[in-house]
């Protein structure tokens, strides 16, 4: 069976890979958007924090014998807590300055974190097993769908939609959005805005770590696993419109699929297609597809 001269087996295979990549793009750009919305900084350490999530999962297994499901819970908490400490001790001092300093600080932190892990663990990946509950796959007739990959897509989608619901539909989210618009007014109403900022950064970082745990069984646990990925995610964020929650989810998944399709039909461009789309979107809409002037 073929589709435009491409075997459907290959087409669906690449579509699935695209969907998986899209799940990671969406989770990571969602975290970046949440952070950007309130703190107005681009968290360059996001890729390093994603990597730390995967490593915490690895450590839990090696040192404490705690498996995947524990890691899914503990890794975001641990890395999120590290994020909270970073925000309290360093990022906090930069809010009065230009937002570019936040970018430079987190860039420096990313270098430090990735360098330290590379010293300790080298550049080759460490294996992490798929949890026994999710091994194997099911035959859908036109292709075999590995259970773990289906789980990644479903779980990431659920997390994204849950986050969207909390931010757009609950009272807590309303405070958050209000603080994005006018922090001093929200503070005047008795909301502890600095604490909200700290927790928001922690939450965004936790999302990155969660993505790291999800990625551990698919890609190997590697000190540089987030280094190049994060730049693609930056492009996704620009396309979606910076700070737009729904925008990052939709563009994340869509661009993953587009990238997968490009691998089928024009493999030479698969690495660059997202950047080309970004350039085209910028020509038409400089604020991104879902963004607005700020």
């Amino acid at each position: 069976m073929t589709f435009f001269g491409v075997p459907t087996q290959a087409l669906f295979g690449q579509l699935l890979i695209g969907l998986i990549n899209g799940a990671f793009y969406a989770l990571l750009s969602l975290g970046l958007s949440v952070i950007f919305g309130l703190l107005n900084i681009i968290n360059f350490a996001h890729g390093a924090q994603y990597m730390m999530g995967a490593f915490v999962a690895y450590f839990l297994l090696q040192w404490a014998g705690l498996g995947y499901w524990w890691a899914l819970l503990v890794a975001p908490l641990v890395v999120g807590l590290i994020g909270v400490v970073l925000e309290r001790t360093m990022l906090k001092r930069l809010y009065a300055l230009d937002h570019l300093y936040g970018l430079l600080l987190t860039f420096g932190l990313a270098l430090v974190i990735q360098g330290l892990f590379r010293n300790q663990f080298g550049s080759s990946g460490l294996p992490y097993q798929i949890p026994p509950e999710l091994t194997g796959g099911r035959n859908l007739g036109f292709m075999v769908l590995p259970n773990y990959r289906a789980w990644v897509v479903v779980f990431s989608l659920a997390t994204c939609l849950g986050t969207w619901y909390v931010i757009e539909r609950t009272k807590l989210g309303a405070y958050l959005r209000a603080a994005t618009e006018n922090p001093s007014l929200v503070q005047a109403f008795g909301v502890n805005v600095p604490r909200m900022i700290t927790l928001t950064y922690g939450f965004g970082v936790a999302l990155a770590a969660l993505a790291g745990v999800l990625a551990a069984p698919i890609y190997q646990v590697n000190p540089l696993m987030g280094a190049d990925l994060i730049i693609v995610v930056f492009a996704v964020v620009v396309i979606g419109g910076m700070g737009s929650i729904l925008g990052s989810i939709v563009t994340g998944f869509t661009l993953g699929i587009v990238e997968g399709l490009t691998k089928v039909f024009y493999p030479e461009a698969s690495n660059t297609v997202i950047f080309v789309i970004m350039a085209l979107v910028l020509l038409v809409r400089p604020t991104g597809l879902f963004g607005r002037e700020k």
């Binding site: 950007f36 300055l97 300093y101 270098l111 430090v112 360098g115 330290l116 910076m242 020509l283």
Partner: protein, 325 residues
């Protein structure tokens, strides 16, 4: 913009008139040191530092005087390096033409990337330049002529202008020094011209500059292309000096490195990027055998600079002597 407001304080007293005596003195000191340095220090190391110093000066034009943080300058350094290396090796061009070809390619690329990026500001601008530069990186990974992971090796140095045989390392050093000084003076002239004053006006208050009739976008684009062109000059020269063009120079880590050099030396200072480049290149040289520790040290310098040392080395000296440098 507050990014550069601290840097601006040091430049606030600058005027359009002739450079101050202290600046001439600092320039003379720099030229003097660089002229005697190759007799005491390994010239190849100095040439590397000079190429990066020119690169950082070009980068500083944008961040220091227009307030735009480009996170994609490696694209200009690297693409010029590939072009110059290819022209010298495959077409057998003499070094001056090869370097010019690289510079021209960087200028064209700067026009294309600048035209897209210049419409945005601040973090958006940083993000967009980073992503577009990554596109250039992937192009270089895949294109046939770049030689992939190997890069272009064993590039012939040739005879500069038919007069200076670059196979002699001292001759080559003074050619590189001349190129560096040419680029440095061109940038100095641009910064202290009416054009540079308009750039600073746009940095400080863009709507006001626009209301006075200046087309902010056009000024920014010219500054961007100038910065890209001189980055290309640095990249082309570097490729001829080291007889090599590789993926390292196009990768985003290189874009980060030039930010580091400029930040450490002093954003928006004339001599800061030069000092910063020499410090960073020396550090890399001494830490080279320690592997990934180089990255850790660079990251720590970033963190320290951002948190407590935002004026940079030259910025602090300028503040101490209360004169712009």
């Amino acid at each position: 913009m507050t990014t550069t407001s601290e840097a601006a304080q040091t430049t606030a007293t600058e005027s359009l008139s002739a450079p101050g005596r202290h600046q001439i003195a600092a320039f003379a000191l720099m030229v003097g040191l660089l002229a005697v340095a190759p007799f005491f220090i390994y010239p190849l190391f100095l040439m590397k530092a000079l190429c990066f110093a020119l690169f950082a000066c070009a980068f500083n034009l944008l961040i220091g005087y227009v307030g735009l943080l480009s996170f994609g300058h490696a694209a200009f350094l690297g693409s010029a390096g590939y072009t110059s290396a290819y022209a010298a090796k495959a077409w057998g061009w003499p070094p001056e033409l090869a370097i010019l070809a690289g510079t021209a390619v960087a200028a064209a690329l700067g026009l294309a990337i600048g035209a897209l990026a210049i419409r945005s500001k601040g973090i958006y601008f940083a993000n967009i330049t980073l992503a577009l530069a990554q596109m250039v990186y992937f192009f270089c990974v895949q294109a046939k002529f770049t030689g992939g992971e190997d890069g272009i090796q064993a590039v012939p140095r040739g005879v500069f202008l038919g007069l200076f045989d670059l196979r002699n390392i001292m001759t080559m050093y003074f050619v590189v020094l001349a190129i560096f000084l040419g680029g440095f003076l061109l940038l100095y002239r641009a910064i202290h011209s009416p054009f540079g004053q308009v750039l600073k006006a746009i940095r400080e208050h863009e709507p006001r500059a626009v209301s006075l009739g200046y087309s902010a976008e056009r000024y920014k684009l010219v500054a961007f292309v100038l910065s890209a062109t001189l980055s290309g000059l640095a990249g082309g020269t570097k490729a001829i000096v080291f007889q090599l063009a590789s993926l390292t120079d196009v990768h985003w880590t290189m874009s980060g490195e030039v930010v580091l050099m400029t930040l450490l030396g002093g954003l928006g200072t004339v001599f800061g990027p030069v000092v910063g480049a020499f410090i960073v290149i020396s550090l890399e040289n001494y830490l080279a055998q320690l592997g990934a520790w180089v990255t850790v040290v660079q990251g720590m310098i970033f963190v320290i600079c951002v948190l407590t040392f935002r004026r940079g080395v030259v910025g602090e000296i300028a503040r101490f002597i209360r004169k712009p440098l």
